[in-house]
Amino acid sequence: MSKKSDLKFMSGNEACAEGALYAGLTFFAGYPITPSSEIAEYLSAQLPKRGGVFIQMEDEIASMGAVIGASLTGAKSMTATSGPGFSLKQEHIGFACIAEVPCVVVNVQRGGPSTGFPTGPSQSDVMQARWGTHGDHPVIAVSPTTVEECFTEVVRAFNLAEKYRNPVIFLMDEIIGHMREKVRIPEPGELEILSRPRPTVPPEKYKPYDESFGDIPPMAAYGEGYRFHVTGLNHDETGFPTNNGKIIQRTEERLLRKIEANKEDIIKVVDMYADDSPEVVVITFGATVRSARAAVRTLRDTGVKAALLALYTVWPFPETQVREVTEKAKLVVVPELNLGQLIYEVERCASADAKVVGVNKINTEPITPVEIINKVKEEL
């Protein structure tokens, strides 16, 4: 039984901030934006008290730059934003990918392109999380379904960022960000906390992108005596720009391989009734998982062999898991608070014998269990 003092009734945004602190966050830079602002608000009060730094920058672009700079000094760094700010951060997210700078970018999704609908829920940045910045680049995106998971999954997001030296997108939504639920705050040491690999060689021998250490080169911190160059240009092992095509190809392939070869470690899905050869499989992520769970339970009560696959890692896409769970399925339903994004990936990976249909909604209300049930009944 947990002590009362460990239990907090808090919002998803607050739990995300508290989880980031647990993961070792010492630097936050951001520009407040609905519906993510409570993350910045919470950290502006907490970080200075806990030995960290909070900066409200002049805009989202600058805050992403500050996060990268802080991470290069060894600080675990994060920013939080929503759609319009996420668009602005994309250029620097690409920089963090190519320069291999660990950081966490929280996107509490809201409706619409452009400034859209600030106070409404949405899950319409699925594809932007993958392809928002230009060029081939490695991406990890993690998405929580409860307030408590805002805490535990942001810890996982930090661990993945540090372990793979890559930005991680923490893909929340307005529903989870603003609702309150009970969170049990873990004891220090209870959850595993990872940090980036550090150099074992002296400064004069250090090369920031030395592939002889494997796909994830050790990362020195500015200010500790190591001098190295960081650029958004394609570079060689010294960190200085190169126009050697062989090196460029080899390095970019390594960047993608960091994620591709470690999918088993990075991908997390949670299924319900998947081992019962389901004829109907509901696949979704984030807040919509909650409605899908209720829908699957009701469907099973009425004799439909339904299952749920909840994607806690949205990117890299859980291809194998989707293929396996849909093997015997006649119908695959993809509810999402957008007009059809995740469904493209599901269609690509689901069993060819299954019909794949979406349940889509952007009218500022969540998808209800009944809407998913009705879709299943209509299609079966």
């Binding site: 239990l7 907090k8 009734f9 600030p118 529903i175 609702m179 639920e181 009970k182 909650r290 209720a294």
Partner: protein
């Protein structure tokens, strides 16, 4: 069992805080599951405001009210808007000055209590009308959440120095419910 409470009225009446306190009492003090959500955006400042609490002994899937077991309505507008979504056999609690017309199509019980007037005239501060309402709801929940837990949650959430004021308001709300129920 899933139990749904919706608190509705105008921005500034403290209904969001009341919802947070109820959710906290249920989940942290009574170790149940609870989800609290609220209307958000321009409407939360000024116009209509609502706060919802789902309470259950099992993890809660869909986080919003579908059919309310209890509706609290402080204004006519909120009564008109939300009373059709109250469950058959459910309870509507209204502020007797804010809600004058209380026709309901379904088989629901309606209790009318002068929350705002009692707060201003008896307790001495209009601002604690939400705590009187919380006292009434505490009784109406019939033990699903312990009134003592709600009281503890109130005392933990309200500003220092206002504990006694809020407790008096809460107790008065419990009493008013008992009087109405006879």
């Amino acid at each position: 069992m899933r139990y749904e409470v919706r608190l509705s009225g105008e921005g500034g009446q403290g209904l969001i805080l009341a919802g947070i306190i109820l959710g906290e009492a249920a989940s942290v003090y009574d170790n149940l599951h609870a989800v609290q959500t609220q209307s958000y955006g321009p409407e939360a400042r000024g116009g209509a405001s609502k706060s919802e609490v789902i309470i259950s002994d099992e993890p809660i899937d869909y986080p919003k009210v579908q059919e309310a077991d209890i509706l609290l309505a402080f204004t006519q507008e909120s009564f008109d808007k939300y009373s059709p979504d109250v469950k058959e056999g459910g309870l509507i609690i209204v502020d007797s000055d804010g809600v004058k017309r209380t026709s309901a199509q379904k088989n629901v019980q309606i209790i009318s209590i002068p929350f705002l007037r009692t707060a201003a005239e008896e307790i001495g501060r209009a601002i604690v009308a939400n705590m009187i309402a919380l006292g009434t709801i505490a009784e109406a929940l019939e033990g699903r959440v312990k009134p003592e837990s709600i009281e503890k949650a109130i005392l933990a959430r309200v500003p220092k120095g206002t504990e006694d004021l809020n407790k008096r308001a809460f107790d008065r709300g419990r009493q008013l419910y008992k009087e109405r129920k006879g």
